[in-house]
Symmetry: C2
Subunit: 341 residues, 2 copies
């Protein structure tokens, strides 16, 4: 039996420092806390030395227990293997660290039960705030938590949860995409989206798409979901005569991956038979065919603002709920050159 538990117990504690420096625990506490100003130089430097000689590290658990401030932020992510989530999370984490907070990330794998468990978990660790990027079923748990701590939603809205929201200006992004396709001469557009599951951003993108298409009489637009039959559906789309040059509009990176797979299966000539524009900008977009045109989201920024939003609330801001919409940036590559057939 190894004795890690013994090691754990034997860690140097505030009392050790106090004794070593010949002062009281209170002074040590003041030293490591915000109240260093209240200490005489003599005592402060004795403590400083004792700390470094002993290699003392304050125990955050204990601090948190007493003060109710753990300096911990929780983040609930639906799918950690989605590059968008990773990028946002990276932004959040960076911002956290800059402000002395740490991030506990929980991946729900799109599973409701895991969402519930993780919610309970985060709460039990006394996190101070929560960033949510999931479907937010378990509305009750979430609302309960919302009472206890500030919360900010990322990318997807949760019904009946009055919480700040940061994400993409979806209507504007979709319009940008459609306008670009139109300008390049495409007239027959198929939007590819992951299956409807209530994700608000997904819904917004699709409805904006429909609205945009409706405004353009010369345009034809339809929507399909990714899934087993995507290839067949794309094939139908490609075979069916339409009002003009065809293009795909992929609603996110996952859809772009699936669509490109299908197009290849169909032996499609990328991207001369069909155009393609995708939301999100993944690092491999330039590599396939003539390159995939993208609408990049400022993911890093989105993450950072999510944290800053939280921080404001933590600092006492009690204003009305805010929504932060960022703009997408168009990156034109070969997939929308438009020189079709």
């Amino acid at each position: 039996m190894n004795d890690f538990s013994a090691a754990q117990r034997s860690r140097v504690t505030m009392l050790d420092v106090a004794e070593h420096a010949g002062v009281s625990k209170a002074s040590v506490s003041r030293f490591i806390g915000e109240d260093r100003a209240l200490l005489s130089d003599a005592i402060a430097s004795r403590i400083e030395q004792a700390i470094s000689e002993l290699g003392y590290r304050p125990n955050q658990m204990a601090r948190g227990l007493k003060r109710g401030r753990t300096r911990l932020i929780g983040m609930l992510v639906a799918d950690i293997r989605n590059p968008y989530s990773i990028a946002v999370m990276h932004g959040v984490e960076t911002a956290c660290r800059q402000h002395g907070y740490s991030l506990v990330v929980c991946n729900t794998d799109r599973d409701d039960e895991q969402e519930r468990q993780h919610l309970a978990l985060l709460r039990s660790y006394n996190i101070e705030g929560l960033i949510v990027n999931t479907l937010g079923h378990h509305r009750d748990e979430l609302r309960e938590l919302r009472q206890e701590m500030p919360m900010v939603l990322v990318d997807r809205k949760v019904e009946q949860l009055d919480s700040d929201l940061v994400g993409l200006d979806n209507p504007a992004a979709v319009e940008m995409a459609i306008a670009h396709l139109e300008e390049r001469g495409y007239r027959d557009v198929l939007m590819v989206t992951e299956p409807y599951d209530g994700t608000s951003s997904r819904i917004e993108r699709v409805s904006s798409f429909k609205a945009q298409v409706a405004q353009r009489p010369a345009f034809s637009g339809a929507v399909v979901e990714t899934g087993g039959d995507l290839t067949a559906r794309l094939n139908t789309f490609l075979q069916t005569p339409g009002p003009g040059p065809k293009a795909l509009f992929c609603a996110n990176g996952i859809a772009a991956l699936a669509s490109t797979h299908s197009l290849r299966e169909l032996k499609c000539n990328l991207f001369e038979d069909v155009g393609l524009i995708a939301l999100d900008d993944l690092d491999w977009y330039p590599l396939v065919g003539s390159g995939i045109t993208a609408l990049a989201q400022p993911t890093e920024e989105i993450g950072a603002s999510a944290f800053e939003c939280l921080l404001k609330r933590l600092r006492g801001d009690d204003g009305p709920v805010r929504t932060l919409d960022f703009s997408a940036r168009l990156i034109v590559r070969g997939s929308t050159l438009g020189n079709l057939r």
Copy 2:
């Protein structure tokens, strides 16, 4: 000023439950702990009811403080935007959850100072074990931590740190790659790796490569690092006559991404002018050119075993340090068809 702090304080505590159920705190503690067997049915059910009526959630911070067991595992990741790390982390997290542990992930962004900070942080939260996937500079800090808790290294060894290690059988993987290239008729191979920074797996792959090449007289092999001049170097490689058909061997996903970019810049005909095999298997490999042949790592498994390793140690296993080497799996795609010129 909102009153989250008040909310935090007002959370229902064990004492509330005890009073509500008319029992002692100790009984409640037994109920939520492992000692439920010691309670009479009558009391147990009273407590159970009180808990659900009050919506009580044990405070892990407090439990951790008292017991020295936080049920927290830390993971230090060098680059969270590397798909390999994500996949491993996903494996770790899944395993953690299955055993009632939670994972705190710290991303160092390949930055030594951040590594140091995060190490201090993890320690201050009393994590019970650590999974390390970084360069492990700050050896002193690491070794100190190693005294206090079990640790397992993933993918990269750290000098003078006697710790379990789980990763890929690099020599075998490299041999598999070279054998495959040879079989497909390639004779002139350039290995592309990220810059040398002491990463052990990187070093192993390169030295195995050199060893493999040395064993094959008909073979020519060289090594380049990714970086600003990669395109130029690849160009030189392609222009310089060699012993036969040329191929690239990318030592990981990042190198594969960079190399493919460069090949495109060079207007290379993917992959008829040059073959390509890459370690790691990323989701977009099938999409570029005729598809990139890959040596897939069992990342999910690697993550899971890393955690299981840790768990064994946590449970008291004090045996000698172990090394777990997983095997890569060859996935042949168009980039090594070999029908060159």
